[in-house]
């Protein structure tokens, strides 16, 4: 592990610009990633996530701006940097007839420091598949192998580009568990995703990107709280109540009726619920049913960009 102080900045991206012809892939992008955190880049396809991660890996050069990773300049000190980072591609392709353990041994041999291949096989559930050809692996197994390859040099920074794309929910949860373990080990993780729940579940902080720009940055909780969208409450009452009266309850941002239920957006939700119950008791009414739905990062994205994420 790097001998950096806790919470020190491991990745610093400042005023990054990148064009592909006329297309602006990145526009003045800036953020820092602290050591030991799981940092998410959230955005729809074409937001610039992969370009960002590839610049951090040293695979692409920015048009302008600066990047420091583990104290190194990825553009100038690429080989040194590669020794210290582990990366997983959106889609990893290896030769068809390459066996799992051969791939791990081969790539481990490229680094000055490497993890135990046996440990990686066990940890990523590939022990039984160690002699299997790459072409014979399932999608989930290929992705687990890709993650194992990302850890083959025991890196301090792990870069994961859409690690669960194309996987079914169960496999996705398996991958989540593996990434959560990265955090437990104290590794710094940068992952790109366009799955809201992935970012919410895994990331300590999230940078929301759209069309090459940073739209919002913070912890998922902060972003949601900052969004002003409020918690969604769906209530069914014993007696009907006028919407105007419900709107007067403390914390209610918005209220409308749909199919015999009242849909409220409230902030903070706890205060609104307590006030609502007191209001119903004082008006000889009662609560028949209550559903609470927290706002999501998608709500934040919609609020920030005016459109929904396209998966």
């Amino acid at each position: 592990m790097a001998l950096l102080e806790e919470n020190s900045v491991l990745v610093s991206v400042q005023n990054l610009h990148k064009h592909y012809g006329d297309l602006a892939a990145l526009r003045d992008l800036s953020f820092d990633i602290l050591q030991g955190e799981v940092f998410g880049l959230l955005g729809p396809n074409g937001a610039g996530k992969t370009t960002t991660i590839e610049i951090i890996e040293g695979l692409r050069q920015p048009d302008s701006g600066s990047v420091r990773v583990c104290g190194l300049d990825p553009a100038q000190e690429t080989m040194t940097l590669k020794e210290r980072i582990g990366a997983q591609l959106q889609s990893t392709v290896l030769p068809d007839k390459m066996r799992v353990d051969e791939a791990l041994h081969l790539f481990a041999g490229f680094y000055r420091r490497s993890a135990s291949v046996q440990m990686l096989l066990e940890r990523f559930g590939l022990e039984e598949k160690r002699h299997t050809f790459f072409e014979k692996l399932s999608g989930g197994q290929k992705q687990r192998l890709a993650l194992a390859l990302a850890l083959v040099n025991d890196p301090e920074l792990v870069l994961l580009d859409e690690p669960t794309v194309g996987l079914d929910p169960q496999l996705r949860r398996d991958i989540y568990a593996l990434i959560e373990r990265f955090r437990e080990e104290g590794r710094t993780v940068l992952l790109t995703t366009h799955y809201i729940e992935e970012a919410e579940r895994l990331c300590d902080r999230v940078a929301i990107m759209d069309r090459g720009q940073l739209v919002a940055l913070g912890t998922p909780r902060e972003l949601i709280a900052r969004s002003g969208q409020g918690t969604r409450l769906e209530v069914r009452l014993a007696k009907p109540v006028g919407i105007d009266r419900l709107k007067l309850i403390e914390g209610v941002i918005d209220c409308h009726e749909a199919e015999g239920a009242y849909l409220l957006r409230a902030q903070p939700a706890a205060v609104t619920i307590a006030t609502l119950i007191r209001f119903l008791e004082s008006n000889d009414n009662s609560l028949l049913d209550l559903h609470i739905a927290r706002p999501s990062l998608e709500d934040v994205f919609v609020e920030m960009t005016g459109r929904r994420m396209e998966h």
């Binding site: 695979l59 080989m79 591609l89 889609s91 392709v93 030769p95 050809f133």
Partner: protein, 492 residues
């Protein structure tokens, strides 16, 4: 070391792929057996001559398809991307591919050499170090070719187009498929610009002529230089991703790759004279074929097919021409070697001259004859046959016992009467004696003439087994010019 690790794993992957195994090891053997069997007819000397083209073909294939196409395929599949994340650069990838290609080439050449020696008894006129240098330099040169094409091509389709253009050009115009001396002069001049020409001709001079490698240092230098150029280009233009495209300007720069060949080709065309060297090696092919023909001639049924004869002088030693000039006649005749012979054979014999009228109504006389040993086991044979072609006039063919032939050869008088005329079939039986004489009239095209010999089935019964006998072809009929081509004379 990453280069060696990747190379060794690449070799292991090839060993696991049936198609790759076939093209790496079995396919070259197919060519060796085809060249050695169909062209060299199993003759060891000719196999030695053809070994160069077989090895060159294999080296070319490994460069173009083993390395070039594989490099593009790796990029197109996306398998290079994973390597890109590791602390290795283009140089490691290229050198590992180059090393794997070379390490796969060596056992293939070994297998070819082993097969040529064991199955075709190819003589080893080449030292192991010389062979190793030739194979190494050749493999490196064509690896450069493959890598350059892989670097320049943006897609697999593009690579296939470039590959096929270069591949087929080199295949057919540089001595790999057709021996260089067989090619027209213009093509020979063009071939002097092709690297495969340098490798094939060097191989042939060394394996067939046992020439020292040092005599071919210019070819070796140019081949090695092309390998270096190819590698440098590949490093400069290396791309990890299929989405990365190479500019037209960069493509044009790759034209520098052909510079060594351009210089070498110009030098060969103006200063050097490689055609003489090519011809010297090619003569081995001729001698080999002659040996093969002689071997055939040793078959009891073949009397003369002329394929084993290299020059007219040799023909004159075997065949004797007589005319009436011995008795003050005016007829003239000569025999010469004709190329090609009947039905695509190497040679035939041409008897050409002028038949003059003899004095006192005696017909002029011209004949050509050779000695023939009657096969010891002639039972089952019915006569002599040959292919004939010439001007439409009457010729006679006779088969005489030694004593009669002796008197015939020293006779000073020509036959007094013309032989019987030809039949519609082109030949008729002249008489019913035990010494058959046949008249025939050849046409413009080759046609088969048969001389039935009744006693041939059991010559000892007729007391005629002792040889040699004399086969004599004579010109008869009206005075005038004549031309007669003969080939494939044999018992039937």
């Amino acid at each position: 070391m990453p280069t060696i690790r990747i190379a060794l794993l690449t070799i292991r992957l090839v060993m696991r792929t049936k198609v790759a195994l076939f093209f790496t090891f079995l396919f070259p053997l197919v060519f060796l057996f085809a060249y050695s069997g169909l062209i060299a007819h199993g003759n060891p000397e000719v196999v030695a001559y053809m070994f160069g083209p077989v090895v060159t073909l294999n080296i070319m294939g490994s460069g173009f398809f083993g390395l070039g196409i594989q490099s593009v395929m790796q990029r197109e599949r996306g398998s290079l991307r994973r390597y890109r994340l590791a602390p290795i650069g283009p140089r490691t990838m290229l050198l590992s591919n180059l090393l794997a290609n070379y390490l796969l080439e060596l056992p293939t050449i070994g297998l070819l050499l082993f097969s040529a020696i064991v199955f075709f008894h190819m003589p080893i006129k080449i030292g192991w170090v010389t062979l190793w240098v030739l194979v190494t330099v050749g493999t490196f040169a064509f690896a450069g070719f493959g890598l350059t094409i892989a670097s320049v091509a943006n897609t697999m389709q593009e690579a296939q187009v470039y590959n096929n253009i270069v591949w087929f050009t080199l295949l057919f115009l540089s001595g790999v498929t057709f021996p260089l001396p067989m090619l027209p002069r213009g093509i020979q001049r063009l071939a002097m610009f092709f690297p495969s020409t340098y490798l094939v001709s060097s191989f042939q001079s060394i394996t067939a002529q046992a020439e020292p490698l040092l005599e071919h240092w210019p070819e070796m230098v140019v081949l090695a230089a092309s390998g270096v150029f190819g590698l440098l280009f590949a490093m400069k233009l290396f791309r990890w991703e299929k989405e990365e495209r190479i500019s037209t300007r960069a493509k044009l720069w790759s034209g520098v790759f052909v510079l060594p060949f351009l210089i070498m080709g110009l030098w060969m065309n103006t200063r050097a004279n490689p055609t003489a060297m090519w011809a010297r090696s090619y003569n081995v092919l001729g001698q080999g074929s002659a040996a093969a023909s002689n071997a055939e001639a040793e078959e009891p049924n073949v009397i003369e097919d002329f394929d084993g004869i290299q020059a007219s002088e040799e023909l004159l030693r075997r065949w004797q021409v007589s005319t009436d000039s011995d008795v003050m006649g005016q007829s003239m005749a000569e025999i010469s070697l004709l190329t090609p012979g009947a039905e695509g054979t190497r040679h035939a014999m041409r008897l050409k001259g002028h038949l003059a009228p003899g004095p006192k109504n005696v017909q002029g006389y011209v004949s050509a004859r050779c000695e023939v040993q009657v096969p010891a086991q002639s039972r089952g044979l019915h006569g002599i046959e040959f292919e004939a072609r010439g001007e439409s006039r009457i010729y006679q063919v006779g088969f005489s016992p030694p004593k009669l032939a002796q008197s015939c050869c020293s006779k000073s008088a020509a036959p007094e009467s013309p032989a019987p005329g030809p039949s519609a079939a082109g030949w008729v039986k002249a008489d019913a004696t035990s010494l058959p004489a046949i008249s025939f009239v050849p046409g413009e095209a080759w046609q088969n003439v048969r001389v039935p010999i009744a006693w041939l089935a059991d010559p000892s019964e007729h007391g005629l087994a002792d040889g040699p006998w004399v086969l004599e072809v004579s010109v008869t009929g009206a005075p005038g010019e004549f031309t007669l081509d003969l080939d494939q004379i044999r018992f039937y």
